[in-house]
Symmetry: C2
Subunit: 601 residues, 2 copies
Amino acid sequence: MENMAGMHRSCGCGEVKDNDSGKVLTLAGWVQRRRDHGGLIFIDLRDRTGLVQLVFSPQYGEEAFHKAEDVRNEYVVAVVGKVRERSEETINPHMKTGRLEVVVSEMRVLNKAKTPPFYIEDGVDVDENVRLRYRYLDLRRPEMQRNLIMRHKITHEMREFLDERGFLEIETPMLTKSTPEGARDYLVPSRVNPGKFYALPQSPQLFKQLLMVSGFERYFQVARCFRDEDLRADRQPEFTQLDMEVSFEDQDFILDLVEHMMQRVFKNVLDVDIQIPFQRITWTDAMNLYGSDKPDLRFDMHFYDISDLLRDTGFKVFRNVLDNGGVVKAINVKGDAKIPRRELDGLVEYVGHYGAKGLAWIGFNEDGTLKCQITKFLGEDKIREIGRFCEAEKGDLILIIADKPKVVAQALGELRLEMGRRMNLIDPNEFCFRWVVDFPMFEYSEEEKRYVAEHHPFTAPRDEDVQYLLTNPEKVYAKAYDMVLNGVEAGGGSLRIYQEDLQEKVFQAIGISKEEAEEKFGFLLKAFQYGAPPHEGLAFGLDRLVMLMLHRESIRDVIAFPKTQSAIDQMSEAPNVVTDKQLDELHIKLVTKEDKEKELF
Amino acid sequence: MENMAGMHRSCGCGEVKDNDSGKVLTLAGWVQRRRDHGGLIFIDLRDRTGLVQLVFSPQYGEEAFHKAEDVRNEYVVAVVGKVRERSEETINPHMKTGRLEVVVSEMRVLNKAKTPPFYIEDGVDVDENVRLRYRYLDLRRPEMQRNLIMRHKITHEMREFLDERGFLEIETPMLTKSTPEGARDYLVPSRVNPGKFYALPQSPQLFKQLLMVSGFERYFQVARCFRDEDLRADRQPEFTQLDMEVSFEDQDFILDLVEHMMQRVFKNVLDVDIQIPFQRITWTDAMNLYGSDKPDLRFDMHFYDISDLLRDTGFKVFRNVLDNGGVVKAINVKGDAKIPRRELDGLVEYVGHYGAKGLAWIGFNEDGTLKCQITKFLGEDKIREIGRFCEAEKGDLILIIADKPKVVAQALGELRLEMGRRMNLIDPNEFCFRWVVDFPMFEYSEEEKRYVAEHHPFTAPRDEDVQYLLTNPEKVYAKAYDMVLNGVEAGGGSLRIYQEDLQEKVFQAIGISKEEAEEKFGFLLKAFQYGAPPHEGLAFGLDRLVMLMLHRESIRDVIAFPKTQSAIDQMSEAPNVVTDKQLDELHIKLVTKEDKEKELF
C-alpha cells in the first residue's frame, strides 16, 4: 500500500469546477465505480463533496493505468491529473461535475477494500439491521452524509444565534443524582462510594435552574440526555436536547426568540423562509378543534361539536353518550362524498383502534341525495341541519364520532390525520409551526388517585388561576408552551415557579408533603431560598427537529451511531458482558436465574 | 413577592454608560450591598454584566424608598430609575459605572434571600467544600462568572474556526462498549439486556476513526469523557475534550491548523497575540534537555550532560552511576551562587522526593572562589572544566544529579522548575506553546514484561522506523505529537495506522494475538477492511486549556458543577443510594459486607 507523502489535495471531488479545465489537480477519495471501455478505464471518484470522473489510459500514465486495472469499488486512492471538458456526447447532466473529467497521470492506491455488503448509494433497499451493523459503510451513502452535515449546520446556526443573543453554553454534569420522579434513570455504580449510584441525566432541568439562581441569566446547552424507557420507533436511550433557560424575561420574549432562531436556521441551512410569529393556539382550543395537543395544521379540517344539535334526538346511541358526559363531534372531509362503502367500513375499523365504538357518516352527493346510515334514526331534516352546521357543500363527507371526550379527541383526531393523508391535503414540503399555549397545570391520575403535574412541579400557574390551586386544580392552567411542527412536538417549556410560597401551594395541590419535596428536590429548593430570579426555559428534541427539517422518517437517520429498539449498538455490540473484576470493584454482582428462583420460594 | 409583569430590562447593570445620563432605565438583579446615608439609601445592584449604584429617597419615590429599607443582600429586585452623573467627590473609579447612579422611582422586590454563607465577591477566603456545597452562590462571584463566560467564548471560537475549516461536529454515543484496555470504565447496567453493561466513553477515539472510514474527512466534537480513576488534584471523573480527526492530510496540516485555531482563540477571547508556528522539539530532545515530555519553556535552564567529563574521575559516587548505565547532568542557575547552605540542604531533600539519592553543587562566587562540596573528590581543575561546559559565569550556581537516566530526568526536571520559580524566571502572564513530536512508539512495561503502546495501538510508527518494529521496538518512534502549554500537556494526537499489514505488525510487537485484537477492537478492525483512508487526529483537554488560559489553579474553577476528589457532587449529594426496585430492574444487587466476609472463608 502507498501513502500520500508529499501530496496535498487541491479540492474535493465534487468541487471540481468548469474553470478548472486545464489545471492539474490532486484528488483523493473512494472508488465509486470502475468501467473499462475501449482501452480506457473510467473511475468515478467519491469524497464528502461528491463525485468526479477519472480517465486512465496508458498514454496519459502507464503506471496509473495498470494500477487502475486492479482497483475495485471502495478502494481508497489519491490521484494527480489534468482537468478537461468532456466531449458533448459524454456529458452527464445528473452529476455536478458531469461536464468535466480528470485525466490521471499518477495514482496511489492508499487502501484496499473488501466488497461491501450493500451498494454505497442512495435509496438502497437494505435491511436496517445490516445498515446498523455496517454503520460506517451506511454513513458513506450521500443521503446519510447529507443528514449529518445538515445536522452540524443546524446545530451550528443555533449556537451562533444564541451566542449573539447573549446566551452562554454551560456544560452540566452527566454523573448526577437519581430522582425517583419521572422516567426511569440509567444508573452508574460508584466504585469509590460503595453501594451508591450516579444517574445519567434525563435533562439538565435542575442544573439549568440552578444556573439561573447563580445569575447567568441566559443559558443554553446542546445536551445529551438519557431515559431508560421501552423504546418506540422514534425514541433512543440517549438523545440530544437544545436546552435553554433565561431570567428576568416573560413568555413573549422566549417565544419571539425561538421564532427568530427557527427563521434563521431554516433560512441559512435549508434556504426556506418561514413566517413569524408562529400562530398560537391554546391547549383547550387545540384539543377541542383537533383532538390533539400537537395538531398538524398543514391542513385545517377542524372538529365541529354537534352535541347540542343532538340533545333532543331520540337516537339512543347518541343520547346515551350525551347523557353520560360524552360528546358528538364531526369533521368535514371536503369532496370525499364519493368514498366507496368498503372504504367507510375500513374507517370504522380504523377509529376502532383508537377506542371509538362506531363511526357515522353523511355523504352529500353531487346529485343532492345523501349517503348516510343514520338518516333513519335522525330524520333527513336533522341530517341537513348537521350538514349546514358543518359547512358541508355538495360532494362533502361528514364523519361523526360519539363517545367520551377523550376517546372522541383521540379517534377523531387520528381520523382527521388519516383523511388528510388520503385526500392529499398534506404538503410534505411545508413547515407548519404552532405554539400550543396554556397547558393544564395538572392531570388527574386514575392510577394514583391524585392530581399530578402535567409538566413538572416547577412549572408556574397562570396568575389568574393561582386562586384555584387548592380548590379546583383542574381549573388551573400553566405558563407552559409547546412548539409544534407538522403535528410533532418539537419543543416545550414553561415559566418556572421561583417563590417559596407558591411552590409550597403547588406541592400541596399534588399531595407532595414538605418532607417529600425536601427529599426529592432538596438542593434546588434550598438554592431557591438564596434569591432566585424569575426564570423560564424550554428544550427542543434536536434529533427530532433535524429529522423533521430533513424530511426523514426516523431519528436513526440523523444520529451517527444509533441504537436499536432493544437499546443495542449493532456495530460495536454494546452493551456486553464485563469481567468479574470490574463488577467486584463496583461492589455489585449479577442477579442470576437461581437468585430469582430462590426468591420465589 | 412581586413579579416583572410589564417590565423589560433596558440593559445590564454593568452596561449603563455615561451617555445614558438623563435616561429612564429598567434594571434587574441582586442586591450586592445596601447603605443608609443621611436619609438616602444606596444599593449596589449586581447582574451578570456588573454593578451599578441605585439611589433611593422618599422624594424620588416614596414606595420604592420604603421597600429599599427592607431589602437585604442577595434580594432580587427590578427597578425603574433615571440615570444621573455622580457628584465629583462620589465618583468611584474602581467601578465601570462609577461615574453614574440610578435614581429609583419604582422598585419591585422579586424575591427574598437568606443570608449567604459567604460574601458574593472575589477573593473570599472560604473552604472549597463550602463553595462546592453552595455552588449556586459560589458561581455568583464575578470571577466564577467570568470563568464560565470565558469558557463559553473559548469553546464558541473553536467551533467557529473549525466550522470555517470544513470540520463537522458529529455526536458519538455515550452508551458504548467496555474495552479492557486503558483506564477503568464507568459502567451502566442494561435493563433490557440482563447481565450486560454499557461503558461511558473514555474518549470518542474508536468512533471518530469510524467516522473517517465513513468518509466525513473532517470531524470534531466537544465531547464529554469519563474515567473511573483515583482522582488527583486536576482530574475529574467526567471531563471535556475538544476532539478532532481528519483524513487525507499530514502532520504539518494538523499542527498548522491547531496553531491558527489557538492564535484566533487567544486573540478573540483574551486579546493576546501568540506567535505561530509553535516551536517543535522532539521527545528525545525534550527528555534530554529538560527531563520532561512537557517542558515548561517560559524559561530555558536546560540540562548539561556532563557524563563524559566524569568518566575518567576517581570519584566513586559518579563512577558507580556511570558504570551502571546512569548519567550525570547539571543545570546552571544563573546568579544564584549566593544561595545559603540551608537552602541547598532543602534542595537535596526536594530532589529526594523524586528519587535522587543526592545533589552536588558548584557556586561560582563573585570573588572567583568556589562553593562546592565535591572539589575535594574531583579537584578544582575538573570543577572549573564542568563550569566552562555548563557556561557558568561568576555568580552562577551549578546543580548536579547523578543517577539512572529516568531518575535524573525526573528529579533534575523538577529541580529545574523549582529553581525557575525561586529565581522568578516564570512570567505568569506568558503563554509558551511547544509541540513535542516523535514520541517513542512503545514503552517497556516492567510489570507485564513486554512492550506496550505509549499512546494507543493505532498510532502509526515513523516510516523510517517500521523496519525495527519486530526487532528493536525501542528504536521505533511514532507519528505522535503533544501540544504543551506552560509545561502542561494541553493536547495530543497522532497519525493513525490505517492499513491491515502494518496494524498486524504493531499488534505483534506488543504481543497482542490476532484473536485478542479481534476481541478487543473487532469492529474497528473490521471497518478498516472496507477502505480506510489515511487519517490522524488529536484531542485537547478543554477544562485544562481553559484553566491555563484563565490562569486558574484548578480545573474545578472552570467547571460549573465539579466533583470532589471522592467523586462526589457536594451540592446534590450524588452519588446516592437507590431503591431495591431500581436494582431489581437492572438485574444487579449490592455486594454486602457479609458477602465479602463469606468469600474469605
